[in-house]
């Protein structure tokens, strides 16, 4: 199966720090597809906070998301939406992560 790909730019000033990395990995875990995040030549597992943090993605960093699997499209759409929302409520997070 070929991989689905999307590109996204980190726009929140704090970058992809621990809280966004957790939200990102937690969301990725809800999908069956294998999902990877790529920064330049550095490729990591989207479902691991530890891996996502190794990207050290500051504001302005471009990331490529690749997913392989039945729900690949939906997974990438959801992840891109999360990043583009500046992780929805970064710093003032109070909602649950039910979505």
């Amino acid at each position: 199966m070929s991989a689905t790909e999307k590109t996204v730019v980190i726009s929140n000033p704090q970058g992809l720090h621990a809280r966004p990395a957790e939200l990102f990995a937690r969301l990725a875990l809800q999908f069956d597809s294998d999902i990877e995040v790529i920064r330049d030549s550095h490729r990591v597992d989207a479902k691991s906070i530890l891996h996502v943090l190794t990207l050290g993605a500051a504001q302005g960093t471009e990331l490529t998301l690749q997913a392989t699997g039945a729900d690949a499209e939906a997974a990438l759409e959801a992840l891109v939406r999360l990043v583009e929302s500046d992780f929805a409520t970064d710093e003032t997070m109070s909602q649950g992560s039910s979505g």
Partner: protein, 157 residues
């Protein structure tokens, strides 16, 4: 950013006797206080801020590692310390595992870049299983420091 740039050697603890998340965080903050990295009258405020941050979502990042942290206006540079718990502490980590290795970070509010680079360094180094295992097996702060120095010199990755 290297470990030795933000880890306070005198604040490393390997013999912590704690039952829960709050105790380990308090114990690490005390270690920072004892090594002169944070002010006594700010300690409680720092602990409260770290605990509040944990309420948003655990900083247990997997593989038995946690990075409790906060921004705090009382520090002028990023300060951090390491603790090793042989028994492990329940930290509500995403992978459900107990935490054996903790990196606690306190950073000035206006320096998000330093904080991000410290997280990047910690996570990148800990991806190496040997380094991660050796750190968790450390019996003394000197053991921990030596491993951090070796990692800084790229001996693990």
């Amino acid at each position: 950013m290297k470990f030795i740039d933000f880890v306070s050697r005198e604040a490393i603890r390997t013999t912590i006797d704690v039952d829960n998340k709050e105790q380990v965080i308090r114990s690490m903050a005390t270690a920072l206080l004892e090594s002169g990295k944070i002010a006594e009258d700010e300690q409680e405020s720092i602990v409260e801020a770290i605990l509040k941050r944990e309420e948003l979502g655990s900083t247990g990042i997997g593989r038995g590692v946690a990075v409790p942290h906060t921004k705090h206006p009382s520090v002028s540079e990023l300060v951090g310390t390491v603790a090793v718990s042989e028994e492990g502490v329940d930290f509500d980590s995403l992978d459900g595992e107990k935490v054996h290795l903790l990196f606690l970070l306190v950073s000035p509010p206006d320096r998000p870049g330093d904080h991000l680079r410290a997280l990047e360094n910690i996570s990148r180094q800990l991806r190496d299983e040997t380094f991660c295992r050796f750190l968790k097996q450390s019996k003394t702060p000197d053991d921990v420091w030596q491993l951090l120095e070796e990692a800084d010199n790229n001996q693990f990755v």
